[in-house]
Assembly symmetry: C2
Homo-oligomer: 197 residues x 2
């Protein structure tokens, strides 16, 4: 009986099981098509029935949305400013945390940014909200007190696409070191927007 | 009878009909989920049966792939260099053509870059091939004769994500003029990669 096998469902709390399914889902969502087979593979890897999976996440879409929401929630906590630092250092520290997060959560990061779930409107809405939060933080850091020129805002949004592309590129090829990739992104921001403060 | 209505299928060649379906498909693919309803809506707007649509494109996936391939083929012809110009002018002229293309083919551009079809692996492969072609052209223009440093290549790939984000942003908000958006992108490239030549 699978229920008595090592690592079976009886040994996990509801919270642990949910977390396990989300992690396996993220790993698969990073690389595979977003279809029914994907759900079957998650169930297989977690050694649970498809029925149990659907007990936690009633539809494929609910599951994908929960994965993306979890990854999106995890990220901004690490890119929040330390107001004790000068602005340029806050931004470099935020970028450093961003690249470390991507390295430590490669599957989640790729599921979030390069994955097949991008087709889903709900997923895109979560990502858009996440981007807006990061954009607001960066624009405030570069132009405190509000009233930033629209060109600055457009440049920051473009730069956020730049760092995602550089980060995905780095995770795939490792042609640069993590620090080189981070410094390329920091330099790009200051070149695009002028020196902060 | 729909077959006798104005604009009905009897008045179009196979080529014209195919082109019409691709254009309507692109318009819808720019904004709507990539599902069966989308196919129904294309058939309705083209005033053809779902069966006729599937005669041209056997599956939803074939249809989406044909749309993306058509749009991808249309773009690089307009961003090819004029070797008579200095490199910086070639790049600005290429960018200008790029933004004009996006303005004249807004639906196609959005279907290609921001659309729901991104979930499809075939679609992503077409886009990747298109990006590689543009990347090679830009890297060659900036560093003729081959052997470009890997950091230049990474920066150019990041910059391509930057221009897509700026272009989608501009199409949506029109907060900048087309020329301002183009100049922001040109400046960004030269800042990121150093002056060409």
């Amino acid at each position: 009986m699978p229920a008595n096998a090592p690592g079976s469902r009886s040994r996990m709390t509801v919270e642990q099981r949910r977390d396990q399914l989300l992690r396996i889902g993220a790993r698969l969502l990073a690389d595979r098509p977003y279809d029914e087979v994907w759900v079957d593979q998650v169930a297989e890897l977690a050694q649970v029935s498809r029925g149990l999976l659907y007990h936690y996440f009633p539809t494929k879409r609910d599951f994908a949305t929960a994965i993306i929401q979890t990854e999106a929630d995890r990220m901004p906590a690490m890119t929040e400013p330390d107001p004790a630092l000068p602005v340029a250092e806050q931004l470099v520290a935020g970028l450093d945390a961003y690249f470390r997060y991507a390295e430590d959560n490669e599957a989640g990061y790729r599921a979030l940014h390069g994955g097949a779930a991008l087709a889903d409107e709900k997923v895109r809405a979560i990502l858009a909200a996440n981007h807006t939060r990061q954009e607001d933080w960066i624009v405030d850091a570069l132009h405190p007190g509000g009233g930033a020129p629209v060109a600055l805002r457009v440049a920051v949004r473009g730069w956020m696409a730049f760092i995602v592309a550089v980060c995905l590129d780095w995770l795939r090829d490792r042609a640069l070191t993590r620090d080189e990739a981070r410094d390329l992104c920091a330099r790009a921001l200051f070149q695009l927007t002028g020196p902060p403060g």
